[in-house]
């Protein structure tokens, strides 16, 4: 079909345009079965113990393996490197039996020693996902029993231990040691894969695309029929949507509610709109500035136009307190503020700013349009209290830097929290424990009472008692009004109907797992 002479191709360039650009490529892709995923996030670092963010998670969960995988709704741990495991009754000791078939890409078997090496490297670097097991696992915790058996002794019980394991990847010690350098192999792993996953990186064009190909002779059995996949960076969500609509991409992961509406009923496109444990709230500076006044915080909480926020969010639901709906211990009967101007003015009168007349500051991540919209909702709401709002777009690193101290932290600090594991501890600890102060997840809020509840709940192994503790935790937090509890946005994915065997799971669902997928 494309056996044209040069002259023909030149004269027929315009005629070629349509067929070559569209049909030709489709035919090509079919033969090779390459899945294209459109996402707006780049993958600047491949190091499994450094990189974070859903795009890096996508790369890492496909090119590396962890002891267990996560699957289903609600998410459950299932075997990956570990073929089976046992836990002690007090929840402090886990023993994993490794799959004897497991091999790294260079053919070396995945051993218990590799597990130990990886955990210790993660703890040593103390970056990336290390926080998930901070204080739970230390450098002596991981003990190889034999080549295929590894024992992990927790420093203290951690109910969600199996839930975090999918995000702690195992590297090939041989490859890393050979390229250790002076930085523990960070330079090497930044752009090289030393894992055992079913996929490897074939082509990496920073800021543009990452192409994966199936590892030949990989140890994993079964899986879908994909020969490759492309993680394509597409900044505009509308472009992602159009690409899926036109079949130029198979999956788009960052779509907005408007995009989903536009795709509705589009032939060949499947919409996935599912609840997810991703919270959005606007944190208030409880330590510095006018909002240190609890009555002002309450006034703001009652003045906020929750309905407008929900309208602007599209596919979402309002949060009831700090925890996402449906998670363990969630209290649906919790009384939370809803827009009520009388009540808001009542609280305002009690505060030091009874007349309003102040100007507060909200920072948000430039480019995150939902945050901008909610900023405007807040601005509109505060005006009714006679309070002005200065909305400042900022780059994320600057936002993070501003969270370092109460003095630099803005009055309003909007933040998304994505649950990497389906346990209330994920959000409770990260977002409300005072040990996290100075970090972006919880810049300033600190309450001894809440701290105590979180710590007790986290190491409690009895589920009923845990639930009780979390109910108390939610009540205590709402009492303090540290946040404007916002929305749970639904996860919105669009997919070509020829993508098969995709199963939604509410944790990190945009970090697509390629292994099971097939293209018709």
């Amino acid at each position: 079909m494309f056996n044209l002479t040069r002259r023909q191709s030149l004269t027929g360039a315009t005629a070629l345009v349509a067929s070559a650009a569209m049909g030709g490529r489709a035919a090509h892709a079919q033969a090779k079965r390459i899945l294209v995923i459109a996402s707006n996030q780049d993958i600047p670092n491949f190091d499994p113990h450094i990189a974070t963010g859903y795009s890096a998670s996508m790369l890492l969960r496909n090119t590396y393996d962890s002891l267990v995988r996560t699957e289903g709704t609600p998410p459950k741990p299932v075997p990956q490197l570990a073929a089976s495991w046992t836990a002690s009754a007090d929840g402090t000791e886990y023993v994993f039996k490794l799959d004897p078939a497991a091999r790294f890409h260079d053919g070396t078997p995945v051993t218990a020693e590799a597990v130990r090496y990886s955990f210790n490297r993660l703890l040593r670097l103390n970056k990336g996902n290390a926080w998930m097991v901070a204080g739970i696992v230390d450098e002596n915790s991981v003990q190889p029993v034999d080549a295929a058996t590894v024992k992990i002794r927790l420093v203290k019980p951690f109910a969600a231990f199996l839930q975090v394991l999918p995000w702690l990847w195992i590297v090939n010690p041989k490859a890393v040691d050979a390229n250790k350098g002076s930085d523990d192999g960070q330079t090497y792993l930044r752009s090289t894969i030393a894992g055992s996953g079913a996929w490897r990186v074939r082509r990496a064009e920073a800021g543009n695309l990452y192409e994966f190909e199936r590892v030949e002779g990989g140890w994993q059995q079964g899986g879908g029929n994909l020969t490759g996949a492309i993680w394509k960076i597409v900044r505009e969500t509308s472009t992602q949507r159009l690409m899926v609509g036109r079949g130029e991409a198979h999956i788009a992961v960052d779509l907005t509610s408007e995009d989903m509406d536009a795709l509705k009923g589009r032939p060949g496109v499947v919409s996935i709109i599912e609840p997810e444990y991703r919270t959005f709230s606007i944190k208030m500076n409880t330590r510095h500035g006018p909002l240190a006044d609890i009555n002002l915080r309450r006034a703001v909480s009652w003045a906020f136009n929750y309905q407008a926020m929900l309208d602007a969010a599209g596919y979402a639901q309002l949060m009831t307190g700090p925890l996402p709906d449906g998670i363990l211990g969630f209290d649906p009967t919790l009384a939370v503020p809803r827009m009520n101007l009388d009540k808001a003015k009542e609280f305002l009168a009690k505060s030091d700013y009874a007349k309003g007349g102040i100007k507060l500051v909200m920072n948000y991540v430039s480019g995150l349009d939902q945050q901008r919209r909610w900023g405007l909702v807040l601005l509109d709401s505060l005006r009714k209290l006679g309070i002005e709002l200065d909305i400042k777009p900022m780059i994320w690193p600057d936002m993070v830097a501003s969270a370092r101290s109460p003095e630099t932290c803005p009055d309003f600090f909007p933040v998304y929290q994505t649950a990497n594991y389906g346990d209330p501890d994920n959000i409770a600890f990260a977002a409300y424990h005072s040990s996290r102060n100075g970090g972006w997840q919880n810049p300033v809020y600190s309450s001894p009472k809440v701290d105590d509840l979180i710590i007790r709940a986290r190491s409690e192994t009895d589920e009923a008692k845990r639930k009780e503790l979390y109910v108390a935790f939610q009540k205590a937090v709402v009492e303090d009004a540290p946040d404007i509890f916002g929305v749970l946005e639904k996860r919105k994915l669009a997919m070509r109907s020829d993508v098969q065997n995709f199963h939604f799971t509410p944790v990190a669902s945009n970090a697509i797992e390629l292994f099971p997928l097939s293209l018709k």
């Binding site: 505009e236 509308s238 430039s366 349009d369 601005l379 005006r383 200065d390």
Partner: protein, 299 residues
């Protein structure tokens, strides 16, 4: 002519000037394109000055929202439809005229001011001052101004003032060159030499004798630059390094609305058209003015 002081000659000079103006006005009117440009610019100024009191939903300008009426298509109630927060796009676009005009003028004025100072110093002192200042200006001209402006704006942080400063910083070399040339030419003229001989200070000579004489080329250049300044402000807004919400700046309106294409096309189309019209208007006008005021360009 020695007769320049006689009343007769003065009257004829006045008549000649009036004749020149008449001729200029005639030529300007001859060109219907310039008239169209003038009309657009006048419209812009009206929108900028009286906009907030003309628009149907003035509350939306300061960030008022109405999420019950999101994404409504253009209708009588909402001429340009509504956006993702139920704000009236017509209102925002009209209000944007003030932002664009203000920032365009500010950029051009700041750029001209800085350029004039640099150019005047370089031209007046000559020698090393001239050499150094002009080399810097030349180098500056080789650098990509948009990228530079973006970098400076990003470093300074979002906000209209920062955007204006960032763009103005890349704007001065053109004026510096222009002014330097004119100053060097004027410096040699008799009235300056006389003032120098009478012991007037440098600042005074520049301020009182030279600068007033080079105002008109600067103004012509400023008028020609206006459209481009507005375009640059909008470009930064479009990239996302621009104003803070809720400022209804056209470029950032378009940048946000881009995600709603093609389904909610009105949110993008009208801000885009507004940028185009504003720039087009100033360019038409500037072109017409240059044709009239700069005899060399007229053919």
């Amino acid at each position: 002519m020695s007769a320049s002081a006689t009343p007769d000659a003065r009257a004829s000079a006045v008549a000649a000037r009036r004749q020149n103006w008449r001729r200029a006005a005639y030529r300007f009117q001859q060109s219907w394109l310039s008239i169209v440009g003038l009309a657009i610019v006048v419209l812009l100024f009206v929108a900028a000055v009286a906009g907030p009191s003309l628009v149907p939903y003035p509350a939306d300008i300061a960030g008022g929202i109405n999420t019950a009426t999101r994404f409504e298509a253009p209708s009588i109630a909402h001429l340009f439809g509504t956006n993702e927060l139920g704000q009236d796009v017509f209102t925002l676009v009209i209000a944007g005229a003030r932002i664009s005009l203000l920032s365009g003028v500010a950029v051009v004025v700041l750029g001209a001011l800085a350029g004039t100072i640099v150019g005047a110093l370089a031209g007046y002192y000559g020698g090393w001052t001239d050499e150094i200042l002009m080399r810097i200006a030349d180098l500056k001209l080789t650098l990509p101004s948009l990228i530079l402006a973006m970098a400076v704006a990003a470093a300074l942080g979002a906000g209209l003032v920062n955007t204006i400063i960032a763009i103005a910083l890349t704007w001065w070399p053109g004026y510096a060159r222009l002014v330097r040339g004119e100053v060097i030419a004027k410096k040699e003229e008799l009235f300056v030499q006389v003032a120098q001989a009478l012991g007037a200070g440098t600042g005074r000579i520049l301020r009182r004798h030279i600068l007033p004489n080079i105002v008109s080329p600067i103004i012509v250049k400023m008028s020609l630059d206006m459209g481009f300044a507005i375009l640059t402000v909008a470009s930064l807004g479009f990239i996302g390094i621009g104003v803070k919400p809720p400022t209804p700046e056209w470029g950032s309106l378009l940048s946000i609305a881009r995600n709603y294409m093609p389904d909610y096309w009105w949110t993008a189309m009208f801000p885009g058209l507004a940028i185009f019209l504003a720039v087009f208007g100033f360019n038409l006008l500037g072109d017409g003015l240059r044709d009239v005021l700069d005899p060399r360009a007229r053919r």
